[in-house]
Symmetry: C2
Subunit: 448 residues, 2 copies
């Protein structure tokens, strides 16, 4: 049973009906986020690489089609038309790491209608959550103003697959490392870690624990100082680091309490102990808001470890994303229903420096000084470009974020950047709307 069965049942029933009706002409679906969640001035496109992997491998094998038949409680012959279907279409997408705005396509898929429909659920799943998490991670990096941010989210993400993604997306956003060993290995990221309170508790006292840890691990160590009482913990850490001559590159970690106050106090204690080089790591429920406040108060915290709230994008754990049919058989189509109008046609985003974006049609001439955001990443079901490197996505992200207006990058009350719509796309939208009202709705006496 392949990943192709990870789909909503309606994709299968629709695909079967399309095949029965001979509706296999090319269709274009556009995936975009309708509105930004609160506290977001922009989004970071992510998930395209996972989608390309899925589409490259997409093939409905016999066992997959048997699963469909069983699930639908239909005889095998009824689902036989799906057997051996592969994805043979084209994918145009915003490369990972780029800034995207509300209404802008993250990805457009053009393929025979049944194929483009069947892959919907997986495409949305990947683009939606990866874009949500990447967009959260970058806000932490912005808030930290150059101080390293690291990922500690493994224990709170929605499963281990999501933890891999969080580590990768954090790195894309500029995180300096992850605590997740498997993800660090898979993505060749720096792995970071300290010790848990349980480690301290398993020893007679903090000094014994710190000493044993340092003796086991040569080089810099990070000692957790708040198991019992932070002041005595810092004092014990300072004694051990001095006794063993291990201050260089080492750090202490604060994980609870009033981090701002404790960091100032710990810094003074370390400096007085002749350990000005020992850094302070902070963790414990941090997100971009907490990091922002600590950094603005010039708290002497050197490294921020974020986990829970960032790995699940706690204040916006999903996006208002959609996968909408915009063209079929060369005809532009759209949906009109309450408050959810979808602009028709294959699209492109034309960006001028400073994230001045115009959403237009794919075949428009780019406005002067603009570059198109969507790139063709797959043709005829195969990747048309080499696999993207995480480092390239990271560089695109850094460059794009630097271009944003400062108001969009704000941590509190950011001002979302708004994309404009091209004249040609506006005209087409009006035209298709009128056609639907005339041909589809009017004959039935609708009030629309």
């Amino acid at each position: 049973m392949s990943d192709a069965t990870i789909t909503d049942l309606y994709e299968v029933t629709m695909a079967l009906s399309y095949l029965r009706e001979g509706m296999t002409q090319p269709a274009t679906f556009s995936c975009f986020v309708r509105e930004l969640p609160p506290h977001r001035g922009f989004l970071i496109a992510a998930g395209a690489e996972s989608v390309l992997d899925f589409l490259s491998d997409f093939r409905l094998r016999r066992e997959d089609v048997e699963v469909f038949a069983e699930t639908l409680q239909r005889p095998a012959q009824d689902v036989a038309p799906l057997l051996d279907m592969r994805f043979t279409g084209e994918v145009r997408a915003v490369p990972e790491g780029r800034v995207v705005l509300a209404g802008e396509p993250l990805m457009e898929i053009t393929a025979p209608l049944p194929q483009a429909q069947l892959v919907e659920s997986y495409v949305l799943n990947q683009l939606n959550h990866q874009t949500a998490v990447a967009s959260k991670c970058v806000r932490c990096v912005i808030a930290a103003r150059g101080r390293p941010v690291v990922d500690f989210s493994l224990r709170r993400t929605h499963g281990t697959q999501a933890a891999f993604q969080a580590a990768r997306l954090g790195a894309m956003a500029g995180f300096a490392g992850t605590s997740n060993v498997a993800a660090a290995h898979a993505e060749q990221l720096p792995a970071v870690g300290t010790m848990a309170h349980s480690y301290i508790e398993a020893f007679e006292d903090e000094e014994a624990a710190f000493t044993a840890f340092a003796q086991c691990h040569p080089g810099p160590v990070t000692l957790l100082v708040d198991t019992y009482d932070t002041e005595s913990g810092v004092a014990a850490a300072a004694r051990v680091l001095n006794a063993l001559g291990r201050g260089d590159g080492s750090a202490i970690r604060l994980d609870s309490g009033d981090l701002g106050r404790l960091a100032f106090h710990a810094r003074a204690m370390l400096d007085n102990a002749g350990l000005p080089q020992v850094r302070i790591v902070a963790s414990g429920g941090l997100d971009e808001f907490a990091v922002h406040d600590l950094v603005r108060s010039e708290t002497p915290i050197d490294i921020y470890a974020v986990g829970t709230k960032v790995g699940v994008s706690a204040d916006a754990p999903y996006l208002d994303s959609a996968y909408k049919l915009v063209a079929y058989e060369g005809r532009s189509v759209m949906k009109l229903s309450a408050a959810k109008v979808t602009a028709p046609g294959r699209k492109q985003v034309f960006r001028r420096p400073g994230c001045h974006d115009v959403i237009g049609l794919a075949d428009e001439t780019p406005p002067e000084g603009s570059t198109p955001l969507l790139e063709t990443l797959m043709r005829a079901g195969g990747r048309s470009a080499p696999r993207d490197r995480l480092e390239d996505a990271r560089q695109r992200l850094a460059a794009d974020v630097a271009e944003l207006p400062a108001t969009a990058r704000r941590i509190r009350s950011p001002q979302p950047v708004q994309a404009k719509v091209s004249r040609r796309l506006s005209v087409l939208t009006d035209k298709v709307r009128r056609r639907i009202e005339r041909e589809v709705l009017a004959p039935f006496g609708s009030h629309a």
Copy 2:
């Protein structure tokens, strides 16, 4: 590379230090949720089966240990002590589906210290997110007051693994089906589905789309009526269902707009068209709050499809869970730091009917009329009971939820049920606290 490498780096460095110090005596770690999130009167224990699978398979193979060495940038011999480590411990846990309260152990793991430490990240990851999602799902079932609820969350969960879990946990909570084909197959759940707006748009008009769908799929069909204008959509659906004689078992789906108003209108239209048996399915950003309001208004919606907000537990996407060392070498241990005191010792929860719970020590005599909540699910690294069946978890859940006070089950402003602490556990907590203050803190002149 096995799942055993899905761990935080500090688990590895701590385990190596424990081995070096010969600290391999049995340790007990307790996993519990400190406080309930807002809008939760109780939690549903979930994730234990995934943890048991992980622990049963846990073994550090050569390639895993090589990953550790590489990640730590240490020579292979430094991590060799971990080679071939298996999990040989005991697991006591609350069986999936049972109601649990703040402070109650979801699971206690007793194993040689390095083993119990190494599995922390995975255990927390699974128990935390599965308990969060199960606790969200059950609130939808409560809100629907007997009307079927189905899972449409695949497109918005944090990856596809989380989607599998959401479908399974929904079923545990009493959902009637899932749209996720692969999950339905894996867990033998009813698969449900309708059609997307794109399906309608690909045809000339709604009537053609509905007719083609019904012709392709014998038996009951669910027709999506809000692509252009809900009133004309309902009218078209009624004409097609009547023309083809397919009203029995069929339904229409409303996915946008004022669902309450539209459902009343659609119900009247269907009744007037001689289709009183056609049911109404509602979807579109629903959660337990929206379902509650619709049900209380006696809206004629027969089936509620929940997705986005439920699959990610949007208002509480994580829990304040912890995995704390409570005993080592027969000695009870605890953490004292700011606002995060952990009660020491191996524990048990004694429940009397009505969820009157007392958290006590594992070796206490159960109070009269109570039954213990934690069961031994693994001994010496192997399952000590047959694999739990989803249906059994569902029945436990239904029985436990029925026992809860009505105030805890409320959708708005629920009153969390509070567990009491046994006298023996209180006495032990005080005793360990005094020992720490005397032996660990006092020698360093702490102010604690």
